[in-house]
């Protein structure tokens, strides 16, 4: 039904994953697999850029919470960037900002 895609760019030990489309359960699981794969390859810092994802459901967010815990458990860091206002609101309601930074741009991660 929905089309979800993402691209991954790895540089200097950090991965930027740019998503596109509806972030549902299936999409969340795809992201989880990708991040687990990267963790296994030695990448420990992640930015998930959600600029082109206008809709996320609570199941997808639940999976993201699990991913955050996994990354942090291995001493890594995961941040979200370029959220739409609604997605940012949902993330705050669900308390994600306590465990992951919300960035206005990917470049802000350097700050």
């Amino acid at each position: 039904m929905a089309s979800f895609t993402f691209t991954t760019e790895v540089a200097a030990g950090r991965a930027i994953i740019r998503t596109r489309g509806y972030l549902s359960r299936a999409a969340g699981e795809q992201l989880e697999q990708e991040i687990v794969r990267l963790l296994g390859g030695g990448v420990s810092r992640f930015i998930v850029n959600l600029h082109d994802t206008d809709l996320i459901n609570s199941v997808g967010i639940s999976i993201l919470i699990g991913v955050i815990e996994r990354v942090r458990g291995q001493g890594g860091d995961l941040a979200f960037s370029e959220l739409t206002p609604v997605n940012e609101e949902i993330f705050r309601i669900m308390g994600l900002q306590r465990h992951a930074r919300m960035l206005r741009s990917d470049a802000e991660a350097e700050a």
Binding site: M1, A2, I56, S62, V86, I90
Partner: protein
């Protein structure tokens, strides 16, 4: 190309004349007089759809081909939006057409030349006449716009004709688009009296002739009326044309075609061509009638074959059809490329392939930032049928789009668009009555007007003299200038003179602003847009009056902002007062928010259990929200709420097929979103989420919903449960 005079063409070919024997005779007589140096200007009148434009267009092609008279074609509807450069545009059009005519190269008309190249080619082709055109063009480019430039430009065809000894026929289409001031500027008396470069203009109503050309000039014009074909003649023509195209039309189809064509042989020909399988013209009603007469199959077959040739890959064709559905939902037939991508939710590569295919098929044009569907209104009506025919089902996007657009006709956003169009017309009438009138200065200062009204003061009021209006344009000037997307409601050129000083031209730029809580930002945006136009050279750096017409009063901050930005502002009572002083029809007030008496409407959607199917519901709601003018942030929240409600409903659905029914409806000023499933009811709603509470696992759905909508309730039913969510449409939360 057929010789003029034949009643019906031998083959279906758009360049040929269809009927109009008498009118053709008149045009021939005018041409013969012109060749003898006795040309006379005239007006071709006929109601919309009667074929004036097509007749003029065909006549242009005929004259161009014959090579004795230089036909100068200038469609005035475009010049409406570019008054700032109208003079230069007119001469540029003449220069290019003169060059193409001389070189017998119609292809030049579609290929803009660099000014230097054009000037050189004109000199070579036309000698002194070419020099005249090149110099006129350069002069107008250096001093563009304004009434003087327009008059100078209007005389160029006559000077060119006199200098070169060439007969020129000015074929100006849609003269009714111009007000009297602009009409007189374009056709000063000496121009209308020209016997070597007369004018043939089209106009919808002969009563508009004096208003359009000025009382004095109107007497110099001959008047020809273009009558529609009789029903009998049109029926005969439809059958003849259809037979030529290999079609046998039933009575129902003939009647539908004749009615749709309104007696215009050209439109009728185009409709028949469409039915015969050529890209032509048509409408929903005709498509339906044609379907009833078993012609639909022909039409669909044509399009399917066309798409198959341009896009052999089936997946690409599916994406292409969805693109068309989304674009054709828009009145303009065009869509911003970014928004299209957001709506489609398809990989960019798929969208690009489909756009390339559609471009090859000649169906769309892809601009820098937009996708435009070209031409064929039939496409609007057959595209979803095509999808069903080829893919055996409607696409989710098509379901959503068709449901939303069908069900919410008459919704506020649509009503507002219609109001805006009528308000622009009334505003134009007001401007036409401006010359020399004295009115209270606070007609253009909302704060001062409010203070005077609040104080009920009867004392002396500062007055101002309204300028003499030269031209009025209304609409999206951004389409004509270099900054697309800038919308103004009117652009007016006027002459303003201080006592004892010469008059100077001044531009009034008008925009209707919704006001309310967003007033300050809208004022600032207006100011930024005007500055951008000035920076781009589309408006002079000075001599621009920015007039914001406020649909609801500004608050104190808004009034301060308007004063700081030096904007003229008028709220509706001022506008009504101004209209009364001028003795013209008032500009209709804007439609209010949804009234209780507004007829309710609703969208019903039943979705099966499938991965991510809730997205269909979200997109349907998005379409509805757009029609209700709900802002993007609020729409995003509602979509999220509906997605969560669907997920919950599927989780609790007990029926074997697990289907969920959604009903979106408007009741008064409330948008209701009902999500129903069959299964066990939920016990109760959870409390609102505590701020910062951590999320783990599932169970957040209803909590989120409560945060995202204004009201939420669970309604148990015998066979399941309904979750009802409410969004209040009043106040500043939407629009």
């Amino acid at each position: 190309m057929a010789e003029p005079g034949g009643e019906f063409p031998g083959v279906l070919e758009p360049e040929r004349f269809f009927g109009r024997i008498e009118e053709l005779g008149l045009l021939r007589r005018q041409a013969r007089s012109l060749l003898r140096g006795l040309g006379r200007s005239g007006v071709l009148c006929g109601r919309p759809g009667s074929g004036k434009t097509e007749l003029l267009r065909q006549w242009h092609k005929t004259l161009f081909r014959e090579g004795e008279i230089l036909p100068f074609w200038y469609p005035l509807r475009h010049s409406l939006f570019e008054q700032a450069t109208a003079g230069g545009d007119l001469v540029a059009a003449l220069a290019l057409q003169a060059l193409a005519f001389k070189k017998r190269a119609p292809g030049l008309l579609d290929r803009p030349l660099h000014p230097v190249e054009l000037a050189g080619a004109l000199r070579t082709a036309w000698g002194d006449g070419g020099v005249l055109l090149a110099e006129a063009l350069a002069g107008l480019e250096q001093r563009p716009g304004g009434p003087e430039a327009l008059v100078r430009a209007a005389l160029v065809p006559h000077r060119f004709a006199a200098l070169t000894g060439t007969r020129v026929l000015c074929l100006f289409d849609d003269a009714g688009n111009l007000d009297a001031a602009t009409g007189e500027g374009l056709w000063p008396e000496e121009a209308l009296a020209s016997s070597i470069a007369p004018l043939l203009a089209t106009l919808e109503d002969e009563n508009l002739v004096p208003r359009t050309f000025g009382q004095a000039s109107a007497s110099r014009l001959t008047l020809e009326r273009l009558a529609p074909l009789s029903i009998e003649a049109a029926s005969r023509l439809a059958r003849s044309l259809a037979r030529i195209g290999g079609l046998e039309l039933g009575e129902l189809a003939v009647a539908a075609l004749v009615e749709e064509s309104a007696g215009s042989p050209y439109y009728l020909g185009a409709l028949v061509r469409a039915l015969a399988g050529e890209p032509g013209t048509g409408t929903l009603d005709v498509a339906r009638a044609a379907a009833a007469a078993a012609c639909d199959g022909e039409l669909a077959r044509y399009w399917i074959e066309l798409f198959a040739r341009a896009m052999p890959d089936r997946r690409t064709r599916a994406v292409a059809l969805e693109i068309l559905i989304f674009c054709l939902r828009e009145e303009s037939g065009s869509l911003d490329a970014g928004r299209l991508a957001a709506l489609m939710l398809k990989p960019a590569a798929d969208i690009e392939s489909a756009l390339a295919g559609l471009t090859r098929a000649g169906v769309v044009r892809v601009g820098f930032a937009s996708v435009v569907v070209d031409g064929d209104p039939v496409l609007r009506d057959v595209v979803q049928a095509l999808y069903r025919r080829e893919f055996g089902r409607m696409s989710p996007a098509a379901v959503v789009a068709s449901l939303a657009s069908e069900k919410v006709r008459g919704a506020p956003a649509l009503r507002r668009r219609r109001w805006r169009e009528s308000a622009r017309v009334a505003l134009r009438g007001m401007f036409c009555a401006w010359a020399g009138q004295r009115v209270p200065a606070d007609c253009f200062d909302a704060a001062a007007f409010r203070e005077r009204r609040d104080a009920a003061a009867d004392g002396a009021v500062d007055e101002m003299t309204l300028p003499r209006v030269i031209s009025v344009a209304a609409g999206r000037i951004g389409e004509a200038v270099s900054l697309p997307g800038l919308e103004v409601d009117a652009l007016v050129w006027a002459l303003r003179g201080e006592a004892g000083a010469p008059e100077a031209d001044v531009a009034w730029v008008v925009r209707f602003l919704p006001g309310g809580s967003g007033g300050c930002e809208q004022l600032a945006q207006f100011e930024r847009d005007i500055s951008a136009l000035q920076m781009a050279g589309e408006l002079p750096a000075t001599r621009v009056v920015r007039w914001a017409i406020l649909e609801s009063p500004l608050d104190g901050a808004g009034e301060l902002a308007a004063a700081r930005l030096r904007l003229s502002t008028s709220a509706w009572p001022q506008l009504a007062s101004l209209a009364q002083l001028l003795g013209v029809a008032p500009v209709p007030p804007p439609p209010g928010p949804l009234a209780a008496a507004e007829p309710d409407f609703e969208i019903e959607l039943v979705i099966p259990r499938a991965a991510d199917v809730e997205l269909v519901a979200a997109r349907a709601l998005e379409q509805l929200a757009e029609n209700l003018a709900i802002d993007a942030l609020a729409t995003g929240r509602l979509k999220m709420a509906v997605v969560e409600a669907c997920i919950n409903a599927f989780e609790h659905a007990g029926a074997a097929d697990g289907r969920v029914r959604l009903v979106f409806s408007v009741r008064g000023s409330r948008l209701l979103m009902r999500v129903e499933n069959r299964g066990r009811p939920l016990a109760s709603l959870p409390p609102r989420a505590a701020a910062g509470r951590e999320a783990r696992g599932r169970g957040w759905g209803l909590t989120l919903i409560r945060e995202l909508v204004d009201e939420v309730a669970l309604e148990p039913r015998e066979d399941g449960v309904s979750l009802v969510m409410v969004k209040h449409l009043g106040g500043g939360e939407h629009g």
